[in-house]
């Protein structure tokens, strides 16, 4: 799963977006949008997400719908600037998940990082003129967010491992 291409990871992201928070009323609109974006998922029921996407299983968040232990409030179809995009990052044993995948985001969209690492680390997001840094303590979840305000392809990296976690393609 880890080595799969960026397109796949985005796909996983969208699938999950549409299927996971089906119970939450707030998400109704998002599901509809997700359907539009996916074009194929006819049934936004949890079974679609029976296999938890690797890119999205991460530290669990105090999330209102809380359907399962690994669920995370990815509130949105990833391509809508109205909603935040949540990326769950797991760093363990010198490896990162995601592992260099490419994710499409919208300019103006808030990007939330949920990081769980077994060692202290620093996450760097290279955002053109201004960069973003998130200090991550060992063994404790860390959360941060930034907004992409211009277009381009941006790397989010683990500073200590010197590895690329995701590449954000902001359009």
């Amino acid at each position: 799963m880890h080595g799969l291409g960026g397109a796949t990871s985005t796909q996983q992201l969208r699938e999950r977006d549409t299927s996971m928070p089906a119970r939450s009323a707030v998400i109704g609109g998002a599901v509809a949008l997700g359907l539009l974006l996916n074009g194929c998922t006819s049934n936004p029921e949890p079974e679609a997400s029976a296999s938890p996407a690797a890119t999205l299983s991460g530290p669990s968040e105090p999330s209102p719908p809380a359907t399962s232990s690994t669920s995370v409030p990815a509130q949105s179809p990833s391509l809508n600037a109205e909603y935040a995009l949540t990326i769950n990052i797991e760093i363990a044993g010198g490896k990162t998940v995601p592992n260099g995948n490419k994710i499409d985001v919208r300019v103006g969209q808030k990007v939330i990082l949920n990081v769980m690492s077994d060692t202290a680390d620093e996450i760097h997001a290279h955002l053109g003129e201004k960069d973003y840094e998130l200090a991550v303590p060992a063994g404790k979840p860390a959360k941060g967010s930034f907004t992409l305000d211009s277009r381009g392809s941006f790397e989010v990296e683990s500073h200590h491992l010197e590895k690329t976690i995701v590449i954000l393609n902001a359009r």
Binding site: H2, G3, L4, G5, G6, A7, S9, K95, T96, N99, G100, N101, K102, H124, H126, L127, G128, E129, D131, E133, S150, R151, G152, S153, F154, E155, E157, E162, K163, T164, I167, N169, A170, R171
Partner: protein, 436 residues
Amino acid sequence: MLVPLHGIASRHDLPLPFSFVVIGAVLALTISFVILIFAWRAPRFDRVGGRPMPRLTAIVDYPVTRLVARVVVLAAYVWALLALLAGQDLLTNPAFGFVYVWMWVGLVPISLLLGQFWRATNPLRTIHRGLCALARVDPGQGLVALSAKVGVWPAAAGIFGFAWLELVQPDRTTLAVLRLWALAWLVILVLGAIVFGQRWIGAADPFEAYASTLAQMSIWRRVGDQMRLVNPLAGLNAWHAPPGATAVVAALLGSTAFDSFANTSWWIGVVQSSSVPTVMWGTGGLLAMIIIVFVSFSLAAAWMGRYGGRPAAAYPRLMVGSLLPIVLGYVVAHYATLLIVEGQRTAINFSDPLGRGWNVFGSAEMGVNSAIFNYPTAIALVQLAAIVGGHVLGIVCAHEKAVTLLPPDRALRGQWPLLLVMVGYTCAGLVLLFSP
């Protein structure tokens, strides 16, 4: 500013839309076969032609002009050296942008617009001349004669070395690393020039070899003693490529391709989850790309030996000029925004080489205008036009050479493998820009 893992830019071009990849591939294939089927059957550029420019020649050859140009360029290098040796180890140090952007990418427009300007003002040549003047010896004279067979082979190795520094070397944006490389470059080139005479610089300096090669496509060309304004294709056709030119071109094309390839999520994923060190992957991948280009091109060109009067091994060097437009297309598509945006940043930082708040050239207060990134469709169109345009010009040059070198009735049969290889390079270039 945080140091990015890869290169000096914090932002990269968006992937080329997939529809552009398809359109580009279809265009490249169609135009190639149209050219092959309907094109001319007799050489068209058998003479360089163009317009003689006697006054321009006089100005360019005027000793004071040459001296001023050399001194100005040398001064820029000395300024960059100051930043390299005494500046801060931060990305705001202009030494990084000077090397990776101004020199390596900037030499492309310089060579296209100004012909052999790089060679004429190469600071290594200036330093070597200065040393020779002090020692009262002729700069052309060395201790040992350099065999003509050496050609530009050492420069091909140098281009691989620079590409390795730019794409593989860990901590490439730290001063300690860059200083070592700069020192190696200076010592190898200047000592070599003392041993072999200044011809060594033309043979071994990766920057001059790259610049001189691209200058073959310039609108300015020296024919005999005179500068001429020429059709770049006619000029390129007149190029007598030195031994090793195929390796130089393969190193340029292969390293540019590897730069893109190393940014695909497939490659990143494989390398990052492997226990083999990243440096090994990078070295292997870079070498593999260069060898793939070198071997595929050499084999395809050697095929012409079946139809012409020369030994098969002679054809790659005779045909290598036709790859230059493809190299140019790749370079424009990959590095145009880098040159525009990071080039500005370097210009801004150039005012303050030591990080002490200086504003020597008045550029320190300017901001980087990165508005170009707001037009991803325009960038994608330029990339597409560069790749496909380079391909078409490459096919035209290859065809012209083929009808020059082969009997007219056999020229087509001789050149089809080369055409297929070029279509392959172009499609690969497009897919790499799509950056899966």
